[in-house]
């Protein structure tokens, strides 16, 4: 059931100059959340800004008994709403609606899982990583950023048993270049009959590159797309993504209902890239 919680901010931890993690007391969302789902957050009680903002559910936090009690959001400060979520103080409150959207489909062994993250596209992979590891699936996180210090939570993934393959554009950590480089090597190292599930989230050009790379190896990718969303509930038709249907015809589907996770092979990338 979708709930709207006036959630107390339990912690607001700054990770870098632009990234912070907000922990929100939202047991009813934490309990239901599946990897890749999102929440719609109201960053202000006033009409500035008017609309909510979509955020992937980053972590599901449990109390000592294992009961889910809170979720966290990985927030990148880029505009008016994300700045309000950067500034919010512990004990403050934010309205949080969810869980929403079509989740990732976690794969089981013997298949292997490749999660490919660019920047704040890391957000959906904490819960997905947890789910995959819990299934015993061998999981690698390919993770790229501009600079080394923008590679966040790598420890978190490593301690859980996720293999890391990092890349930075300035070469300060991992591969010097784009995240597609280590991914290319890993894909090349598998034979085509090795079952590998690919998941990607990040800037649209990066997801497009991942899809083209994967397609070259005959593989599909579950991508989590990030269009502007007005409502997150299927109400407004603002969030549409061009998809090719079975007949090969292009049409617009609502990303908040049919997504945010799509099979990359269905997405009409030419249109999406504009």
């Amino acid at each position: 059931m979708i709930v709207d919680i006036d959630a107390e901010v339990m912690a607001n931890t700054k990770l870098s100059a632009d990234y912070n993690v907000l922990v929100l007391a939202a047991p009813d969302i934490a309990r239901q959340a599946r990897p890749g789902q999102f929440v719609m957050v109201k960053p202000s009680g006033s009409f500035t800004p008017l609309l909510r903002r979509p955020f992937s559910i980053f972590e599901v936090l449990r109390d000592p008994s294992g009961t889910p009690g809170a979720i966290s959001l990985l927030n990148k400060r880029i505009g008016v709403g994300t700045t309000l979520l950067w500034d919010v103080e512990p004990a403050g409150r934010v309205l949080c609606l969810g869980p929403l959207g079509r989740p990732f489909e976690p794969v089981d062994p013997p298949a292997e899982a490749f999660m490919v993250a660019g920047g704040v596209g890391l957000a959906p992979f904490a819960t997905l990583g947890d789910a995959l590891i819990a299934r015993g699936t061998r999981t690698t996180l390919f993770y790229g950023a501009r600079r080394g210090p923008e590679l966040l939570y790598t420890e978190w993934f490593a301690t859980r048993g996720v293999t890391l393959a990092l890349a930075t554009e300035d070469g300060s950590r991992g591969d010097h270049g784009l995240v597609t480089q280590p991914l290319q090597r890993a894909l090349a190292a598998r034979v085509s009959s090795d079952p590998v599930a690919l998941y990607a989230c990040g800037p649209t050009p990066m997801m497009h590159a991942v899809w083209k790379l994967a397609a070259g190896f005959g593989r599909d990718v579950q991508v989590s797309l990030e269009p502007v969303m007005g409502c997150g509930m299927g109400g407004c038709y603002s969030c549409v993504i061009p998809i090719r249907n079975d007949g090969g015809q292009r049409h617009f589907v609502r990303s908040c209902l049919a997504g945010p996770v799509f099979n990359a092979s269905r997405v009409v990338w030419e249109d999406l890239m504009g």
Binding site: I2, T48, L50, R52, V228, M233, G235, S238, C239, G274
Partner: protein, 322 residues
Amino acid sequence: MLNAQCYDSLVDLSAQIGPLTLKNPLIAASGCFGYGVEYKEAVDLASLGAVCVKGLFLHEREGHRPPRIVETPAGMLNAIGLQGIGVHRFVREHLPALRDLGATTIVNVCGSTLDEYVEVTKVLSDHEGVAAVELNISCPNIKAGGIQFGCSLTGAHDVVALVKRATALPVIPKLTPNVTDVASFARVAQEAGADAVSLVNTFLAMAIDVETRRPKLSNVLGGLSGPAIRPIAVRMVWECRQAVTIPILGMGGIASGTDALEFIIAGANAVQVGTANFFDPLIWNKLVADIEDYLRRHRIERLSDLVGGVEVSAFEPAWIDS
């Protein structure tokens, strides 16, 4: 104490829209609530006065390319382009579920021609579960000079009269605010046999990204909705209330019980909530509670007694732009 309690139980929120009785005056506005079914997990559709579903043509439409919305101060622009599944798929895929969920369903009907309005309405009339049709007669084509139905009095008259002849359902034209004298459109609608009028649709508007010097919407122009427009919409409802006797479905920026009451006191028999669904989708229970509370505090038994209750005895408007 006993009296107060008895009194409490008597508060009557029902709204009469022509032959249609709504259990309360709160309606989800077209285009802001999908086909209603999308909200079934979060909102008890049967608790709403009615659900007005997204505008439907005869056939499916893809709508405009994104970006389709942009925020503005206390408002938003949209240019969705009336993406929709067409009336045939709607009656097949969604109407049964709406019926099962106990929703009172109003369908927002679109047309590129007079005939299309009639055709869509006929399809809806042939299926059970449609409570009324709302005719979206807001300037369809501003490029060709627009002013076809919503912006011309004869156009508005013809659509209503023709659709009225084709159906037994209540017919509710929805008026555009982008005209000099909206009350004249309400009057024409009443003359043409409309059971009620809805107003307002969105205000034609534009936003430009100064860095790229391109419009922020793919469609260049969009419709302004949300709290920003409320004072203009309230004025229009008040003007129409003085011009017609048929019920008015008022809307434009409603985001609280007080806002809804403002429209009712200005002259609306029922109200629609559009943009507020986006930022407060569970608003409905709060609205009902706030309105009930108001009626109790003011010892008003029936919401209908409040309609148009604004006192303007001292009205002497000379210059207003001042």
